[in-house]
């Protein structure tokens, strides 16, 4: 439940960003650069005198967006591939070997390639994260569909003259969703982490957009004197990923009867 509360809090923060942020994320104030956390700036300011709290708040929007959209993309593609592989056994080998091929490309390499070919930016970042996580969804879906496909109610559906598409949509998918939901929840945390990692390396979101990974990257040269610039985004990132992981674990316990 803690995970759910943290996530809901984060979503609220992201939605209300313009209302609750004390300053604009882009407001530079050279006179007040490198301030430690104080009453005026709760989380301190960075090397350009920008308020870190406001940047964190706006950054949560970017992180959530990257996390949700890339997971949505890869879950959609991955599930489709998984269903095709499991349902039409003739395609199984072909589809799954292609998926294995994707799994063998390190996501960093993929992100570098995409950034080099299409330029860096939030869309290409989501694309890179999305593509690199497709295999996980394809495998989970395939396994779930293979089990459900053999059940008697699918045979019964066939025996009343239902066509394949309808069987997949009405009978197989709803019954194989549980593991996919769990995978997706865990995947959001993972995607946020990968995205931050890529931004840290300069392959993702470019300044001045407030992204947590980019903020870490910006603060790292000052870490010896102004630790708050790296520690605060780092802790926030950790908390979010942690929250999503406990949420995923909780969902697994709730949805998978075998673990009870």
């Amino acid at each position: 439940m803690v995970g759910l509360y943290l996530l809901v809090f984060l979503i609220l923060v992201a939605i209300c960003a313009p209302i609750i942020a004390p300053y604009d994320y882009d407001d530079q104030n050279q006179e007040k650069a490198f301030k430690f956390p104080n009453r005026e700036f709760w989380f301190g300011t960075d090397n350009f005198g920008r308020d870190i709290l406001s940047r964190m708040i706006y950054g949560s929007r970017v992180s959530l967006q990257v996390g949700l959209i890339s997971v949505g993309f890869s879950a959609l593609v991955g599930c489709t591939l998984g269903v095709i592989a499991a349902f039409y056994r003739k395609c199984d080998n072909l589809v799954m070997r292609v998926v294995d091929g994707f799994a063998s490309i390190p996501y960093l390499l993929l992100a570098i390639a995409i950034a080099a070919a299409l330029g860096s930016g939030i869309n290409n970042l989501m694309l890179a994260v999305g593509i690199s996580t497709i295999p996980a969804y394809a495998r989970v879906t395939r396994a779930a569909v293979l089990t459900v496909k053999e059940t008697e109610y699918v045979e019964a559906a066939r025996s009343i003259g239902t066509n394949n598409f309808r069987i997949i949509i009405r009978h197989i998918m709803p019954n194989s969703l549980a593991p996919i939901i769990i995978q997706a929840t865990l995947g959001v945390g993972n995607a946020i982490l990968i995205a931050s990692c890529l931004s840290f390396l300069g392959l993702g979101i470019q300044p001045p957009s407030p992204e947590w990974g980019a903020m870490l990257s910006g603060g790292r040269i000052y870490i010896r004197d102004y630790w708050h610039m790296t520690v605060i985004p780092g802790v926030a990132l950790m908390l979010v990923v942690y929250a999503l992981n406990i949420l995923g674990d909780g969902l697994r316990d709730a949805l998978d009867p075998r673990l009870k």
């Binding site: 059940t151 008697e152 109610y153 045979e155 019964a156 559906a157 066939r158 025996s159 009343i160 003259g161 239902t162 066509n163 009405r170 009978h171 709803p174 019954n175």
Partner: protein, 326 residues
Amino acid sequence: MHEKVLEIKKLVVRYDTDYEKVEAVNNISLEIAKKETMGLVGETGAGKTTTALAIMRLVPSPPGKVISGEIYFEGADLLKISEKEMRKIRGGKISMIFQDPMTALNPVLPVGEQIMEVIRLHDKGSKAEATKKTTKMLELVGINSERHNEYPHQFSGGMKQRVVIAIALACNPSLLIADEPTTALDVTIQAQVLGMMNSLKDEFDTSIILITHDLGVVAEVCDHVAIMYAGEIIETGTIKEIFENKKHPYTIGLFNSIPDLDTEEDRLQAISGLMPDPANLPKGCKFHPRCPKCTAECKHRVPQNTEVAPEHFVKCLLYKGTEAAK
């Protein structure tokens, strides 16, 4: 005398695996007349369910495959028509009741929707009409129609089986294949379900193939019986003939293994031996290793159908040359 609904001719179904080829159904022929109930009896693995699946053209493939034979249903050979036409027949003209009602319903859909699904697939009509018919079907099988929005886990086993029957009968099929419809139910519910199937048969003029290994159930509802052993029909006839004038040693053994209420017995009379390995069937008569009346001839000669009485066929060499006078 009567109109045939289904006629199976020399059907062979084989399961091919990497290691062996198994003929689960081996050259069976069967006829079912209109409004008739045919009991298909046999041990586990005798090929009863495979026969039913072959009629529906749902033999899992791979590994299963219909090798040869013809299945005529209302004049058309089901093995030759297109998949699209077959889908219209499934659930529309032929429907099937599955063995285990606990698993034959989709756990995430309300039962009403599952009944509606078959109606919407086969009857052209508005959603309102389908809803009305769903309500009618539920009432027909004795379930309060207000429960149509409930999920399968909210029903008892017998009620689930009645929902399954409602689905099977929703489009007034001319043939109903019931694959051990009562095996998973306890005896009182069995009686209810069988009684209901019988009354529905009268109402809709449906022919039924009842697959079971329970001879008591057969006695209750069937007009004809076919006994299957190792993929073959070894004896077939009217219910009276089979129950009172059984000929094949296997059929006799099957009846002997039912304990008698009146005599005290310490042990049940079992047929000695086990079902043969279907991948490695004995030569000659397939029952000979277990047969108490086995002769030298049985070990290498395959028995053919012998008509010992009108409409009573036996595949056993003992009765060769004793055909009923025609």
